[in-house]
């Protein structure tokens, strides 16, 4: 069933992503998948399970452990007229391919004077929270969004999980889609809206008048929970899902902050020099005179994420901290 025809139905984020991939493969013969263990193994997170059987080895390509080469090969294949969807198993391994991503994929269109756009989609799992420790818990999507020439998407909802891929394939730029590991099992409704998922706009997931909670990815659900708790105290939080970290939809953010006059940014990435800093700076520049209180950030503590459960929890942003940050603004503001 294509996203376009979808009648609302309950599904998981994992299946929604798979559905998006299937549709893309069915729709366009130039689309193929490439990555480690996406075929025989069925995908490290079982996202690509069954695709090898359906589409065959030519289009579902298991790669050796050679991140730099197969990401670079994705760039070349895109230049050669294909529409590669490259999976880097997790963001933690993407550093090995960063030269290809930054120095080639992001740069080629501009430096060739527009001759060579790179219509490449890269998917990676991201995030912490599964006790997989320092080298397997990175949240670098905000960091990646420093790089001009890339588009950075972070689907949080089922509709976006299913629909953003089509938007990524519809543009000719390198798009990186970050899927938070903890979302794969999440359930929700897949609706017709998936078909119109774009790579342009942030979404207001919960309207509110008192404070803007600005976030993306798995942290969206922490913010929604925090908003519920705040509502019990009479504070109505507006929750904004950025959806796309580059280019940033500053308009939606700024308009929200202008209405609510307060903002807290919630990001699982490390605090310093992250996307939360960027949003704070944008609000500074574009809505300073509208603010009733300084913008705050609730981010990961700046440590390599530890294994032990209590330590990992302490390292990551939690609902209680979001609530506390908001509460402190009202205390201060009054």
């Amino acid at each position: 069933m294509s996203a376009a025809e979808a009648i609302t139905r309950r599904t998981t984020y994992r299946d929604a992503v798979r559905d998006g991939l299937r549709q893309a493969l069915l729709r366009d013969p130039r689309v193929f998948l490439m990555g480690e263990d996406i075929g025989r193994y069925g995908g490290c997170f079982a996202v690509t399970k069954g695709l090898l059987e359906e589409f065959g080895e030519a289009r579902i390509r298991d790669t050796p452990l050679s991140e730099s080469a197969f990401v670079g090969a994705g760039i070349g294949a895109a230049l050669g007229g294909l529409r590669p969807i490259v999976e880097i198993m997790t963001v933690n391994f993407s550093l090995l391919a960063l030269d290809q991503i930054l120095n080639t994929a992001a740069t080629l269109c501009h430096m060739s004077g527009g001759q060579f756009p790179v219509p490449l989609v890269i998917r990676m799992a991201t995030g912490a929270g599964r006790q997989v420790a320092a080298q397997h818990s990175h949240s670098l999507e905000g960091w990646y969004s420093h790089i001009p020439g890339l588009r950075i998407a972070a689907p949080a909802t089922i509709d976006d999980a299913a629909g953003m891929l089509a938007a990524a394939l519809a543009c000719r730029d390198p798009v990186i889609i970050f899927e938070h590991m903890n979302l794969y099992n999440s359930q929700g409704e897949l609706t017709a809206a998936a078909a119109s998922a774009d790579l342009e706009h942030a979404a207001i997931r919960r309207p509110g008048r008192d404070v803007s909670l600005i976030t993306y990815g798995a942290s969206l659900f922490k913010c929604l929970t925090a908003a519920d708790q705040l509502a019990m105290h009479g504070i109505e939080a507006e929750v904004i899902d950025l959806r796309v970290l580059r280019p940033l939809d500053a308009k939606t953010v700024i308009e929200s902050v202008q209405r609510t006059r307060r903002a807290v940014i919630v990001d699982e990435g490390w605090r310093s020099v992250g996307i939360a800093a960027e949003i704070s700076a944008r609000v500074m520049e574009q809505a300073f005179y509208d603010l009733d209180a300084p913008v705050q950030r609730v981010c990961s503590v700046e440590v390599p994420v530890p294994y032990a459960k209590h330590m990992e929890e302490a390292a990551l942003p939690q609902v209680a901290q979001i609530v506390a940050a908001v509460a402190s603004m009202f205390n201060h503001g009054q």
Binding site: P64, S66, V301, P306, Y307, M311, A314
Partner: protein, 329 residues
């Protein structure tokens, strides 16, 4: 696999090797249980089936030698002499763990035994080993560095760069490739066009040997020669140990990529079965001996689990300790 005359082994040494392998097997099986019970979390990669490699190689190493490995390193840690209690405490995320519970299964480190991990990036420890070898060379010390890695790492650029550097600079590094024929679900022949590792090694003018990694005596013998040469001649060497992992890649793996028969075939040639029957056939060990080793391994694991369960967790206030080193030089 390769037919070689059974190396001479004394009863004492034979039992020692067997007990080392049994300790590992027993430890790993218990880890699997603890994982199902939710006491060990995160990623857990077990070493069942590959015990002969770590145990065989470690026999020739000295306390001054430096070791680097992968996320599948419990066996190496135990064979190197890291205490089972501190290891189990680490897996349970306790402060008494070798890394205070911060590393978990994939990140075992121990300064006392020069055990440098514990690396969850495939190929990531190869350059590290080069540097450890370089330090020995520039310090003009007699230690060597040993690097264990899976055959999956061979496709990574870091393998290539590290092999060349080690050979170019004549560094005392022993590369031990644990070829268990799969990298997650990717069979060796589906990841490399040249499946002879020794042919690859020739591209770096490095001495290499390939052995039956299910035969601990063979591993020990060949590793011993290589370690001796690396130590004496200060040049690198490469050892391929052909082996097999009996369990899933990690605890999440449905193993769609290999048949039960294939696994069974390897299990029948497993390192414990092999050594056990060899020692028995040679009249060096009785069934009683075996049972004694088995229970002693069990008891050690019991003790380690008990220790780990009772141990306390690191205070959360310490979260930001050690992001930077505490003393200056």
């Amino acid at each position: 696999m390769t037919a070689m005359p059974p190396p001479v082994v004394t009863r004492e040494h034979g039992l020692h090797l067997l007990s080392q392998m049994l300790r590992i097997r027993c430890f790993e099986d218990r880890c699997a249980e603890l994982y199902s019970a939710g006491k060990i979390r995160g990623f857990l990669h077990l070493y069942n089936g590959e015990e002969a490699v770590a145990v065989g190689v470690m026999q020739s190493l000295q306390p001054v030698d430096a070791i680097a490995g992968t996320y599948r390193e419990h066996g190496h840690a135990l064979a190197r002499g890291i205490g089972m209690r501190t290891l189990m405490a680490e897996l349970l995320g306790k402060e008494a763990g070798c890394c205070r519970g911060r590393g978990g299964s994939m990140h075992i480190f121990d300064a006392a035994t020069r055990f440098y991990g514990g690396n969850a990036i495939v190929g990531g420890s190869l350059p590290l080993a080069i540097g450890l070898g370089l330090a020995e060379k520039l310090h003009d010390r007699k230690a060597i560095a040993v690097c264990f890695f899976g055959e999956g790492a061979v496709a990574e650029g870091e393998f290539h760069e590290s092999m060349n550097l080690a050979a170019l600079w004549s560094l005392p590094v022993l590369f031990v490739c644990e070829n268990n024929y799969y990298a997650m679900g990717t069979a060796w022949a589906r990841s490399e066009v040249q499946t002879s590792l020794l042919a690859k090694v020739a591209g770096y003018c490095m001495r290499g040997e390939s052995i039956d990694g299910m035969d601990v005596l063979a591993v020990e013998t060949v590793a011993n020669q290589l370690v001796r040469d690396v130590r004496a001649q200060r040049t690198p060497a490469f050892l391929e140990a052909r082996t097999y992992r009996f369990r899933a890649h990690s605890m999440y793996d449905p193993q769609l990529y290999r048949s039960k028969d294939e696994v069974k075939g390897w299990e029948e040639r497993g390192p414990l079965i092999r050594l056990t029957s060899r020692l028995k056939e040679a009249g060096l060990m009785t069934e009683d001996d075996f049972q004694r080793l088995q229970s002693s391994a069990n008891a050690e694991v019991d003790d380690a689990v008990q220790f780990a369960e009772q141990a306390t967790i690191e205070p959360v206030e310490e979260l930001q300790r050690f992001v930077y080193a505490e003393e200056t030089l």
